[in-house]
């Protein structure tokens, strides 16, 4: 719909439409700011935490306690030379990082981050877009992020990047399957694809209590989706140097970087939405509950990074296809049986 058409809208409907649009903009800006801010902070948190896990301090030179480290990193990334290898496929090379960062951000569009607000009798949904196929959208977006990695690795025209890209594609496809299947019982229980409905379905108890297996599968798969240790084979340093983003530098590299950390936050919020009851919780305001739940996952990912060694490639494939996939299928069958028997 074009602007003139919008303005021609008569009376109250038109006004409401414009108001809704403004609200949407505010939500977008807020979410984007918070999300990117969290990603930047997460870089520092990760380095600090990793330091402490290894009995070190972590960064402590820039600003008090190294708190300005993300700022320094940002400035550094901005000022670095943007190198495009001579033999690279220029267009794809430049677009690929955006695909990764963009898809991670897009997923958040369907994540409800608080209870709907009611202002003057008007319900303001605390979600950017309450899609009725939100869950499918999430899965679709996380599939598209494979392109960022595979194309980035291919366009660099470097053997390490290519290997990293291929590994990334193979790994994401393998784990996506189990991830999607692990969410099927959630849909079966909540009877909806909308993330808002899923949160609302957990009004009494979070799904983690009824679907612990799905939770575990989803957790493992999302670690793999985020290319975090122990699943960081696409960028395995000791084999591939830096994998798919080896040839990237400056802001283009930063986009991959941002994408990865936004991904961590997004995974945290999805986990909160699907299994931990979203924003629901006693005593504290919903948004705080939501943030708390969201932060559990990044912490766990960092903790895993400090604790676990990297998988071998065959072990990775073994786990994905021979353990997680049958397990999630079994979980669906069991859930279906239980629903059939109990009738709800």
């Amino acid at each position: 719909m074009t602007m003139p058409a919008m303005c021609r809208g008569t009376g109250k409907t038109g006004m409401m439409w414009i108001l809704g649009f403004i609200l949407l903009l505010i939500k977008l800006v807020l979410v984007l700011a918070v999300l990117l801010g969290m990603a930047a902070a997460l870089v520092l948190v990760e380095r600090k935490l990793l330091g402490r896990f290894q009995i070190r301090y972590g960064p402590n030179r820039v600003g008090p306690f190294g708190l300005l480290q993300p700022v320094a990193d940002g400035i550094k990334m901005l000022l670095k030379e943007d190198i495009v290898p001579a033999s690279a496929d220029r267009v794809i090379f430049m677009l690929a990082p955006a695909a990764v960062a963009m898809t991670s951000l897009l997923i958040f569009a369907v994540v409800p981050f608080a209870e709907d607000l009611t202002v003057r009798g008007r319900r303001i949904p605390m979600v950017i877009a309450d899609l009725n196929v939100g869950l499918l959208f999430v899965l679709a977006m996380s599939s598209i992020s494979i392109y960022g990695i595979a194309l980035g690795g291919w366009a660099s025209n470097s053997k390490y990047s290519l290997l990293g890209g291929i590994r990334g594609a193979a790994q994401l496809i393998s784990y996506e399957l189990s991830m999607g299947l692990s969410l099927v019982p959630i849909v079966m229980v909540s009877q909806s694809f909308s993330l808002v409905d899923i949160v609302n379905a957990q009004a009494n108890y979070p799904f983690i209590l009824v679907q612990p297996v799905a939770f575990l599968i989803f957790l493992v798969c999302s670690m793999a989706e985020a290319n975090r240790l122990p699943f960081d084979l696409p960028e395995a340093e000791n084999e591939l140097i830096a994998g798919y983003h080896m040839e990237y530098s400056g802001m283009r590299f930063a986009l991959y970087f941002v994408g990865e950390y936004v991904n961590m936050v997004v995974i945290g919020s999805l986990l909160a939405v699907f299994f931990l009851g979203g924003w629901r919780g006693p005593f504290l305001p919903p948004i705080v509950w939501f943030l708390l739940k969201v932060m559990i996952v990044p912490f766990f990912l960092i903790w895993s990074r400090a604790s676990l060694p990297r998988f071998r490639y065959d072990q990775l494939m073994h786990l994905g296809w021979k353990v997680l996939l049958p397990l999630s299928l079994l979980n669906i069958v069991v859930t279906g049986a239980v629903i059939l028997v109990t009738g709800r």
Partner: protein
Amino acid sequence: MAKEESSIAKTAAEMVKGLAGSYAVTLKHLFRKPITEQYPEYKKPLPARSRGRIILTVDPDGDERCVACYLCSAVCPTSCISMESRERDDGRRHAAWFRINFARCIYCGLCEEACPTLAIQLTPDFEFCKDDILKFVYEKEDLLVNHGGRNQEYNFYRHAGLSEKGEKGTHINEKPPVDVKSNMP
């Protein structure tokens, strides 16, 4: 069948134990005091044999020990040592120029090990940052010091029986020269 099941259970238990163990160790570390030493504020005294900036030492007579035998440049894994050997006016073999590119040096100490005259030695000094990479190229004048480093006594020419430094037969552990025109034993 039961045995197999129990072994699967056992493996699973082991896996869980392993996972939990590793998570526990790191979690424990999270609450320990870091052992990091804050470097510029606190400088740990280095052992005398730690490997830092390279020097060229002199023998007890005050003459440079280096005989430009090329062993250090041959053994150097990064090829950061280059030199040109010449015959000095007094017949002694020496390096007309001797250059170490510290921008390339990895301080492995192989040159020191290869040096047959104890001329090239590594010192504990490792703090010599430069703002220009060319300043890392040290010439012989920059490398030469006026002492013998770790061994003040050693003098290669007292052992090698060359006539440039003292007559034949006067060096350590040498008999007087054979008189080829005498039949006396």
